[in-house]
Symmetry: C2
DNA sequence: ATGCTTAAAAATGTATACATTTATTGTTTG
DNA sequence: CAAACAATAAATGTATACATTTTTAAGCAT
């Protein structure tokens, strides 16, 4: 697998230290490659927002914070509603079936954190794809991928899983019956609700 | 200056070929460095959306297209209104003064395209900074920087300059008088109007 | 003791050389 | 003649070695 993907996973699973500069030599030994592909990966991750600068040179893993959590969910709410609006008329029954299948798989208990995050994004992705808006889709994908970092809190202390599942189901039913306004509203609530829970939890820490 | 910045400028000024793969050796000779910093730059620009993959390896400069133009303005409209909302109570008189100074400098006729784009972003940046929302600000900045690619059309065939200036002035007046609702509405119209003009123009090409 | 200067170390940035993958072209075969 | 295959050329990906920058820590002066 790609080095930057492996690093992302290790960030998610707290295998890499937070708040201190990531050293290229150390990583190159850990991942068994030279510094060049490590540099490439760190650069990508910095541009994507997974890493932040540390001093004048070097990068580090930023702390989770309620403001970013809130921003991510606010941005997702606005942009994903836009996308669903555009996609609505083009969503086929097979898309809904696929989405239903994906959200059901989220029940599997042995799923890893990152696996859950990927599935959740795939669910949303399935509903937005028919819109055929590459630029918008791309940004939304980036936001979702970043939000995975915060998923540990949602599926851990907050016990959010079942509720999220239900909201997915309700959303699919609205789409199936052609009820656009309610569908978009449901999606917005789904995203904002999770965001509020999460940022409140982080504020209290 | 940073290589990736120089490449961005050359993309904006059409100094680099569109639609064909950019060759690392060619660029390394043009910019007088080895392939490594070129690779770094191309990688960043790819992640930022300035370049797209070409086949299985290599990148190219994508064509301008109305869909992306529309997406950029729709995203900007939603997210910048959010930011202005958050910033509103925190915008100081000196911020407004600075913004007014920036928008006035947009009248200078000798300004380059990229200079105009930078100034325009600085204007918006000044109004959003007081919100103190790094994650949101970061995304908005990325969208604005990408939108610079389309600025040539706005300031060229569309003759948009004067109108944009006026809208900036109206916006500042709303902010100055504490009229939040109208300010946000004005901002949304400002962004969407430019987007509509632009994407209609591109559709007709 | 504290703060500044300076020197050494350790880190990142860059260049060159090599490995691997991708694209192209020429040949062969149905 | 077209299509598929193979061989070659050319591009990207990676490793190692070197240059530059940044950090750290030690020494000196205040």
């Amino acid at each position: 697998m790609d080095i930057s993907q492996r690093i992302k996973e290790d960030i998610l699973n707290s295998k890499l230290p937070r708040g201190v500069p990531l050293r290229q030599v150390v990583l190159s030994e850990q991942y068994g490659v030279s510094r060049i592909p490590i540099r490439d990966a760190l650069l990508s991750l910095k541009v994507e927002g997974w890493l932040v600068p540390h001093g004048k040179a070097g990068v580090m893993i930023p702390d989770l914070n309620w403001k970013e959590a809130e921003d991510l969910s606010l941005m997702r709410a606005e942009l994903e509603c836009l996308l669903l609006d555009m996609a609505f008329g083009c969503i086929l029954p097979e898309d809904i079936a696929k989405a239903r299948c994906l959200t059901n798989r989220l029940n599997e208990p042995q799923l890893s954190l990152i696996g859950r995050g990927e599935l959740n994004w795939l669910f949303h992705h399935t509903l937005y794809s028919p819109a055929n808006r590459p630029a918008l889709h791309r940004v939304v994908e980036g936001l979702n991928k970043q939000a995975i970092r915060y998923l540990g809190f949602q599926y851990g202390p907050l016990g959010y899983r079942q509720k999220s599942q239900n909201q997915h189901e309700v959303l699919l039913n609205f789409i199936e019956s052609g009820n656009k306004t309610d569908a978009i509203d449901c999606l917005r609530q789904h995203i904002l609700h999770a965001g509020t829970l999460l940022s409140n939890y982080l504020k209290a820490m």
